[in-house]
């Protein structure tokens, strides 16, 4: 598995190609790219800053990928997460999951994303025309993560 926290941008096509390179057993690759939107809760967002907890971030994401691997029949997973100053249209996060079949790859990819949004130690501060604000935890994200617990 690969976990990278970085300020620089990423290329989903190149990351997918690298993750699946040389493995002819892979039939399915599910991916997710998260992007900075220009609105959040109805307010215009001009820029945001993403802060994280170095060390714990990588460790918690690796643990999430391990859980996904034990729960679904997948081969490998990659998470690239950006931190620092980001603007609308910037890519924030990439999750790629490889497997033999699509059902497991999709489920594991969505599982990892749900956990990234609700458990991994990232904090978002938004700049709006009215000033800066720390984003509050979102109820809908907690619900999405809870879904998986019911299935356990």
């Amino acid at each position: 598995m690969t976990v990278r926290i970085q300020t620089k941008d990423f290329d989903a096509g190149r990351e997918i190609a690298a993750l699946r390179q040389g493995d002819p057993g892979i039939g399915a690759i599910a991916s997710f790219v998260g992007v900075v939107r220009n609105v959040n809760d109805g307010d215009k967002v001009t820029e945001m800053t993403l802060e994280h907890y170095p060390g714990m971030t990588e460790k918690s994401i690796a643990r999430i990928i391990g859980q996904a691997k034990s729960r679904w029949n997948i081969f490998d997973a990659l998470v690239v997460h950006r931190v620092g100053r980001l603007k609308p249209l910037d890519q924030i996060v990439l999750v790629v999951v490889t497997g033999a079949h699509r059902g497991d790859a999709f489920a594991a990819c969505e599982f990892i994303m749900d956990y990234l949004k609700t458990r991994a130690p990232f904090w978002k501060k938004e700049q709006t025309p009215e000033g800066e604000r720390w984003v509050e935890s979102r109820e809908s994200d907690d619900i999405a993560a809870g879904r998986w617990r019911l299935k356990g």
């Binding site: 060390g55 714990m56 997460h81 991994a120 904090w123 978002k124 720390w134 509050e136 935890s137 979102r138």
Partner: protein, 84 residues
Amino acid sequence: MITVLYFARLREALGKASEQIALPAGVTDLGALRALLRSRGGAWAEEMADGKAVRAAVNQDIAHGDTRINDGDEVAFFPPVTGG
């Protein structure tokens, strides 16, 4: 001595990203450490208040009020996460 880290809104409100603290006798778990910090008054009393949604980790694992703290530990306090 333990290392205590503060992140995001908490770091800004407390004006501090990290500090070293010598654990007083009797401060053996996270709940007691939070009470100790709260007793500093001002922003500390406010941000560490019982009603506040403060999350914590001990040695980079999510921790709770009854999680034990030992000399040399890395303890972190932060708001609920809002990642991705």
